[in-house]
């Protein structure tokens, strides 16, 4: 990652922090839309009106005032559904990423700090988990647990904990060899106390950067599961179910696919850029 050659034009771009504030701006917009959905959505996201089906967006002939981004095959307002969809996307990404992060980091800390059989068991589990195609694994888990947002969140945590466990395990192993760990031990601190009060704060930056990446992944996984109709009920406005509908109606109403896709694209790009940006910012080598 560290391709820092002095005077390279790239350095100027990274220095201006645009990689941090640009994604933050978009996430802020999406978060505001999610929080204020009932106030700003022009229509009820569930209201069907077959008189208004497949209205094109405002810049095309045949559009209706008030339906800015057009309507879907059931006459539901696309913009309102995107705004309400932001609620589900952000909710899932926040809860799923946090759960995955806590679960995976805890296992990574234990494996990296204690080593021995704990490390062997956890590393073997990671190997087994990595042998599953993630999307198929997610689909299978949701099928087993039943559809619904709870299952989606649980599936993400049950699959992606390995991402945290691998990185945090490696970093903990590095930290555990540092002098400050020895001095804490000489000072009489218990092993577990050293892990929590000395090592955890030092691996925290990586955890936070991974959390951002995971939020982007969670948004995508929820969309994929909605797309194959395994998330919440297909009437509920999620970006994934809108995309599935748009894929079906691609030859009649492309806007039903385009606009939720833009929202999803920007959100995923923002989270991962933010994660990468934070990773570089925290990395002492790159400072």
């Amino acid at each position: 990652m560290a391709d820092v050659t002095t005077n390279s034009p790239r350095l100027i771009l990274t220095d201006t922090n645009f990689r941090l504030w640009l994604p933050l701006l978009w996430i802020g917009v999406i978060a505001a839309a999610a929080l204020l959905a009932p106030l700003i959505a022009p229509h009820d996201p569930l209201a069907q009106d077959l008189m208004l089906e497949r209205l094109p967006p405002f810049f095309m002939d045949g559009s209706e005032p008030g339906y800015w981004l057009g309507t879907d095959s059931l006459g539901r307002d696309v913009l309102s559904r995107i705004i309400y969809g932001a609620r589900i996307a952000l909710f899932v990404s926040l809860i799923a990423a946090t759960t995955t992060g806590i679960f995976g980091s805890a296992l990574g800390l234990i494996a990296g700090f204690y080593g021995g059989w704990a490390d062997r068991v956890i590393s073997r589990l990671v190997d087994i988990w990595m042998a599953f195609p993630p999307v198929l694994f997610a689909v299978l888990l949701v099928a087993v647990m039943g559809t619904g947002l709870g299952s989606v969140i649980a599936a993400i945590a049950l699959i992606d904990w390995t991402r945290f466990a691998r990185v945090i395990r490696a970093e903990t192993m590095v930290q555990a060899r540092m002098d400050y760990v020895d001095s804490a031990r000489i000072g009489g601190a218990r092993r577990a106390a050293t892990l929590v009060s000395e090592i955890l704060p030092n691996v925290m930056p990586s955890i936070i950067a991974l959390l951002m990446l995971e939020m982007g992944i969670a948004v995508i996984v929820e969309a994929i599961l909605s797309f194959v109709n395994l998330s919440i009920s297909s009437d509920d406005p999620t970006w994934g179910s809108m995309i599935a509908e748009g894929r079906g109606a691609i030859h009649f109403a492309w806007w039903v696919l385009l606009f939720p896709l833009i929202a999803l694209f920007m959100t995923v790009l923002s989270f991962s850029t933010l994660g990468e940006g934070l990773k570089q910012r925290f990395d002492p080598v790159l400072k």
Partner: protein, 335 residues
């Protein structure tokens, strides 16, 4: 020493595969819903259900079921699909060629595209072109295959409908395939129309899978090329009068390729994993599409078979990558 490395690696692969089998078995058995009840027509008696339960072995204890199932799997018997009423092994092997062709094409596209961008980036290092390529590959990398697929569906379904966005081959083409490797067989039999139609159906799903990997290759290979270009042997080549492009292609590339190769191997498994949703998106009749149908229909034996096949494919590819890396890298060979 080398033999021991290979042995240990084979052993861990076997343990991983066994673990996968246990996880798949447990997951599928705790799934709610009675698959037997779904197979029978309405009005079936308890006796009918019990008979079918016995046929599928659902009346034995979990441990017994696992041992019977695993014994069958080792002998190539993956059971019978509940919805399609055919042997799982037959169904899965019938779909495997489609997925293999798709992932191989995607891999080739990724290597070609990523390699090309890396060479350009290394050639134009320190200029605005390099910055532009870096930013582009960074953005391309953060967008997963699912979204690329949707973008291609929009572009080629609506804006510029030159490529087909669903299916594997034009249904109007009249040919009886003996294998399910359409491209391979089309080439062998000299049916270029079949090859062309298959390729035009595969291009978009393969591109969706290839783009994130291409971006990764572009970044890593360029980094390694730039390092190689500061070495003495490249300076020597320049002194001998080779052009910068020739230095990159003839000298630097050979040395920069090895670490990139390791990455490509590992990432290839992720690419194969991506086929599941991308095939769904493009209605491509491969394994992944079948897997999602199997999950939706609660076809437990079929799900087990597909997941196991994917897992076996992943672990074997990882094993091959590790071993070939050990053989190719002189430092590890003697280590």
């Amino acid at each position: 020493m080398l033999l021991k490395t290979v042995f240990v690696r084979l052993l861990t692969t076997a343990i991983t595969l066994f673990g996968v089998a246990v996880v798949v078995f447990i997951l599928v058995r705790v799934a709610p819903g009675n698959p037997i009840a779904m197979m029978l027509p309405p009005g079936a008696t308890d006796q009918d259900i019990a008979t079918l339960n016995a046929v599928y072995g659902f009346d034995k204890s979990l441990a017994e079921q696992f041992i019977i199932w695993l014994g069958g799997v080792i002998q190539g018997d993956f059971g019978t699909s509940i919805t399609l009423r055919q042997p799982v092994a037959e169904l899965v092997l019938g779909r495997l060629p489609a997925t293999l062709e798709l992932s191989t094409l995607a891999l080739l596209l990724a290597v070609a595209l990523g390699g090309f961008v890396a060479v350009i980036g290394a050639r134009k290092r320190g200029t605005g072109t390099e910055v532009g390529l870096d930013l582009t590959s960074g953005a391309v990398l953060s967008v997963p295959d699912f979204l690329w697929g949707l973008i291609f569906v929009l572009v080629f379904g609506v804006l510029w409908p030159v490529l087909s966005i669903s299916g594997r081959v034009d249904p109007r083409i009249d040919i009886d395939f003996t294998t399910n490797f359409y491209i391979f067989e089309g080439l062998l039999r000299g049916r270029l129309d079949v090859v062309g139609s298959t390729l035009s159906h595969m291009l978009m799903p393969a591109m969706s899978l290839a783009l994130p990997l291409a971006a990764m290759i572009a970044q890593l290979l360029k980094q390694n090329l730039k390092e190689a270009l500061t070495q003495d042997y490249t300076t020597l080549a320049r002194v001998r009068g080779f052009s910068e492009t020739a230095v990159i292609l003839r000298e630097a590339l050979r040395n920069a390729a090895l670490p990139t190769l390791a990455l490509v191997g590992v990432q290839f498994t992720f690419l194969i994993g991506g086929t599941v949703i991308v095939e769904r998106l493009f209605a491509f009749e491969g394994l992944g599409n079948m897997a999602i149908d199997a999950v939706i229909n609660r076809d437990l034996p079929l799900i087990q078979g597909i997941v196991l096949l994917f897992a076996a494919l992943f672990t074997v590819i990882n094993l091959l990558v590790d071993l070939s890396y050990t053989f190719l890298n002189p430092r590890l060979r003697h280590g």
